[in-house]
Point group: C2
Chain length 227, copies 2
DNA sequence: ATTGATCCATGACGTTGGTCAAGTGCGCAC
DNA sequence: GTGCGCACTTGACCAACGTCATGGATCAAT
């Protein structure tokens, strides 16, 4: 049973905000609305995709389990983000697994509903391409970070992206626990912890799950520092 | 002026092989066919995309130049691969730059031609999503590799992907120079060189731009080795 | 208050890969 | 041939990060 707030978030999601009103209403009416507790699995890599997913609240991680059993976090999604479009529309199998990392509300749109809509109105296909492109772009950005930045720089950039000011100071909330943040950044929790303490020198204070950035420009400078 | 071989490659590209014949012919007739010498730039990150690209011959790299001036190679494409779909269809700006790393033949399809086709036949949109999904998938695989494998394992996996047998022995050709291979794998040329010599112990011989893998299963084993 | 669980910080140490510098092998122009 | 340039290799050294072990802080249950 979706409430109005949830519907509003859905309407403004990357996936739907460009669609004409009557399509949106149709999708909302055919969607499945579900609550997930913390650490529930939405799907596993290798499963066949039958729906696309829009996060209404909470945090969902996409991750891969590697041949030797360790876990690589690929993305972490939150309110307004959608995922699984490209896979579901082709009836392919997921290349990643998905799990809630906090209690979450997620809306599922059955793939056949969306396919039907695309065939009737090709504009919808372009909308979905747009959102898929966002994912492409964010993966490209992650690759660049991993290849060209040190762990410390990645941590700093992560903090800067949480607050979205570009000068002055700001206080941001760490959205999920530090093990996951470390995973998202491709480092171990211990390294994250050390990176945080090294960032003190650049005006960053970590207090529980909050970070105070005293001088945004100074930190930005550190991220962009040549080698 | 395309020759028949080039047209045949285009027809079997990821992007077009699922399209009905008459659409393919139309796209081929509207396409721009171009030769690039080595090290020519196709486009730069930040430029507005006006076409999608299909590689007919040679190798094209996509890369990002970071704030501190260093370069991160994101993808390397060859015969039959297409790129730029999601960007061109939305008239967005490229998140990466593209450059030929060998002399290459590339076919460009103007975005407006493709958009027109999608609006007339939504099936085309799904085809493009399929090819975009391939890119997504390969980026996800790269992320996993960077986060969960050592440089040596990445090098070994790269060699295994070049030959596509899964047992016995095989001889593969290194498709482009070692500086670029190193970039693609997120390491420095020196480290690539050292990785190669360490792989001798696993039956890999490097000779100029060829690699002999004496025992594919042994090497696969090394890649999948638990930590 | 005590226990245990969970999450995080810190220290000691090992390994990986980057950096810098020198050297090798090969192709090519003359 | 000789000389030069380029791609690659090798070695010595160092910084960054992972690993392993320990200990503190917080919270809930008893």
């Amino acid at each position: 049973m979706p409430n109005e707030l949830q519907k509003e978030i859905a309407r403004t999601s990357t996936l739907m905000r460009l669609l004409p009103e009557q399509h949106v209403e149709m999708l909302l009416s055919k969607a499945i609305w579900r609550h997930y507790d913390r650490d529930e699995t939405l799907f596993l890599q290798g499963e066949e995709a039958t729906a696309i997913h829009i996060v209404l609240d909470g945090w969902i991680k996409l991750y891969r389990v590697t041949a030797n059993g360790s876990e690589a976090v690929v993305s972490v999604f939150t309110r307004g983000d959608s995922f699984g479009e490209a896979v579901a529309l082709r009836n392919l199998t997921y290349p990643v697994s998905a799990q809630s990392v906090t209690a979450s509300e997620v809306m599922h749109i059955p793939a056949n509903v969306l396919v039907g809509l695309i065939l009737r109105d090709a504009q919808v296909g372009l909308s979905i391409l747009a959102s898929t492109f966002n994912h492409l772009h964010s993966l490209v950005a992650q690759l660049e970070q991993l290849k060209a930045q040190t762990a410390g720089q990645r941590v700093a950039e992560f903090l800067l992206n949480l607050g979205n000011s570009d000068s002055g100071s700001c206080r941001v909330t760490l959205p999920y626990d530090k093990v996951l943040i470390a995973g998202r950044l491709g480092i171990k929790p211990e390294s994250l912890s050390r990176a945080f303490s090294r960032l003190k020198a650049f005006g960053v204070e970590i207090d529980k799950n909050h970070a105070n950035i005293h001088n945004v420009k100074l930190l930005r400078n550190f991220v962009d520092a040549e080698k």
